[in-house]
């Protein structure tokens, strides 16, 4: 397909074919108040040189030399040039949905490998070919639980990523799904006793995140037992996939919804990322999105096909399992390549570095008078600190030292004023952690 605009004569032909005289006449059904009666405010045509100059000038506006301690669902991790070089091959970069296995073996095998890796990491039996991102994967997981149980209530941990909760609430509005929230305790973990009371015979799913939004690990086996006691399903969300290098996989969960950005995808402006849904094999027919399967061809050779495609929207239309199951094939491929480059031991070592650096940072910050850890539960590469004054004010001062400070939690959690979420990954040099501690100490020494 060539992306060329239509010429005036082609437009006239098209208008004549549908029986209208002008573009004006074509749009008469749109009320005048909703029509744009001036040209779009766009720059005029530029020459190639002018365009290059324009983008060089914009690129020069980028800040550089800052050290960031932000995480909260999007993480800075090392990425290999190998990943970008491979995914930019035309066969992958411009390929479309592999409906025809006879011409798509490479793409299908790549998806199959991705699914296999996701199963191994999450401790589940089956994973799909990927979802839009972690938040939509989580929402689809809850809708799946609603279909599987025939129940219409989801009990959600308050420590689930607030933006994931927003996405879930948006979907819930039109599918008769009631959402109830369970608070966290001083450990930062979900209040298990409150959860036990809240779960009832109408509960489709208990939804938790681990490590949760505060970076604290949840006790997944215990939570599964609480959900299962009332025949509800346990949905576990994971936003920091690197944690799976050392954290026990949530094998007790019925559905795992994960953001795979940490596996080789740049934070960019918040996307494109890659969502993952993994579950038990017995639930596979309620799993949204597509699934690649291994089979044999007429000569008995190994091959790959789209499996269970009969439940997808191109065949089932409005009765499809999901109509919002956008597959992020290229991002999934990047994640698969990234994981293969790291290997099992590499991923473990990477996770250990994250843990060690975050522990070091937590200890350094805790030495500063007036600064303390907000939650006592075990954490991975993020933790919440409590400061003696507003995090936003402190951050403004840190920025002067080219440090992007902790995420202020008060916007998401009014009860957590003066608390900030700190993220430390393998990309944060020890010297920068020490510089954050020194800078913070100085700022807090000064009178407000």
């Amino acid at each position: 397909m060539r992306y060329l605009p239509k010429s005036p004569s082609e437009r006239q032909q098209m208008l004549a074919a549908i029986g209208v005289r002008s573009m004006e006449e074509l749009f008469t059904s749109i009320p005048a108040a909703h029509r744009l009666n001036r040209p779009l405010n766009l720059l005029g045509p530029l020459s190639e040189m002018e365009i290059i100059d324009y983008f060089r000038a914009r690129a020069a506006e980028n800040s550089c030399g800052y050290t960031s301690f932000l995480g909260a669902g999007v993480y800075n991790h090392l990425r290999s040039v190998v990943t970008d070089a491979l995914i930019q091959r035309g066969e992958f970069l411009t390929s479309y949905t592999p409906y025809q296995p006879e011409i798509s073996q490479g793409t299908l095998q790549a998806i199959f490998e991705f699914q296999t890796l996701m199963c191994q990491l999450t401790g589940q039996e089956v994973a799909n070919a990927s979802m839009w991102d972690g938040s939509t994967a989580l929402t689809e997981a809850v809708l799946m639980a609603q279909r599987l149980t025939g129940r219409h209530q989801a009990i959600v941990a308050r420590s689930l990523h607030p933006e994931y909760r927003d996405v879930l609430a948006t979907y819930a509005r039109n599918v008769s799904l009631e959402i109830d929230e369970v608070a966290y305790t001083p450990t930062g973990q979900i209040d298990a006793a409150a959860l036990r009371t809240a779960v009832n015979d109408a509960t489709a799913a208990v939804v938790v995140q681990s490590p949760n939004f505060f970076g604290v690990l949840e006790q997944v086996p215990e939570l599964a037992e609480i959900a299962h006691a009332k025949q509800a399903l346990l949905v576990v969300a994971i936003t920091e996939a690197v944690s799976l290098g050392i954290v026990r996989p949530p094998a007790e969960a019925d559905i795992v919804a994960m953001e795979g950005q940490s596996f080789g995808l740049a934070p960019s402006y918040g996307g494109p990322f890659v969502g993952v849904i993994a579950t038990r094999e017995k639930f596979v027919r309620q799993m949204p999105g597509r699934l690649t399967g291994q089979t044999t061809d007429h000569a008995g050779r190994r091959g790959f096909v789209l499996t269970l495609a009969t439940r997808e929207q191109h065949i089932r239309r409005e009765k499809a399992t999901s109509n919002i199951c956008t597959n992020q094939a290229l991002c999934a491929l990047a994640a698969a390549i990234h994981l293969c480059l790291l290997g099992k031991e590499g991923l473990k070592e990477l996770a250990q570095q994250n843990l060690a650096k975050a522990r070091f940072a937590a200890a350094e910050l805790a030495k500063i008078p007036g600064v303390q850890r907000a939650f006592s539960g075990p954490s991975f590469n993020e933790f919440v600190v409590e400061l003696p004054r507003s995090v936003k004010m402190v951050n403004a001062d840190l920025l002067q030292d080219k440090i992007i400070g902790p995420l202020p939690l008060s916007g998401f959690y009014p009860e957590l004023s003066k608390r900030g979420l700190v993220c430390v990954t393998e990309t944060t040099p020890r010297a920068e952690i020490e510089r954050l501690a020194a800078s913070l100490r100085q700022i807090l020494d000064r009178p407000v």
Binding site: R285, T310, K319
Partner: protein, 132 residues
Amino acid sequence: MYPSNYRYTKEHEWIRIENGIGTVGITDYAQHELGDVVFVELPKAGAKLSAGQSFGTVESVKAVSEIYSPVSGEVLETNTSLANEPEKINKDPHGAAWLIKLKIANAAELNTLMDAAAYQTYISEKQKEAAH
């Protein structure tokens, strides 16, 4: 081919009545159109269905199709053997591969369904259409 004591729907389900209990399945024509059946999804006993309501799905290698209840009633029993042997639907659609048993709510609804002769005519017209 099509038992004369059964009644049939335009969506290709059949129903057989014994002592106020209706047994429901899909017709030989339907299984043939679907091809090899690989999965059947059925309601739970106790589910209340109205005439024409979808109560499950039959999945073949080609498609997933809804199954509709010929009449209103309450589900008394489902054919659990189909979970492990969905291919029974291809082998014996009018017998061993029944799907659900219904306690019929309104026997008058049966009069709206086709008898075997009418159904035969209906599907031969379908086949003619398909041939054109």
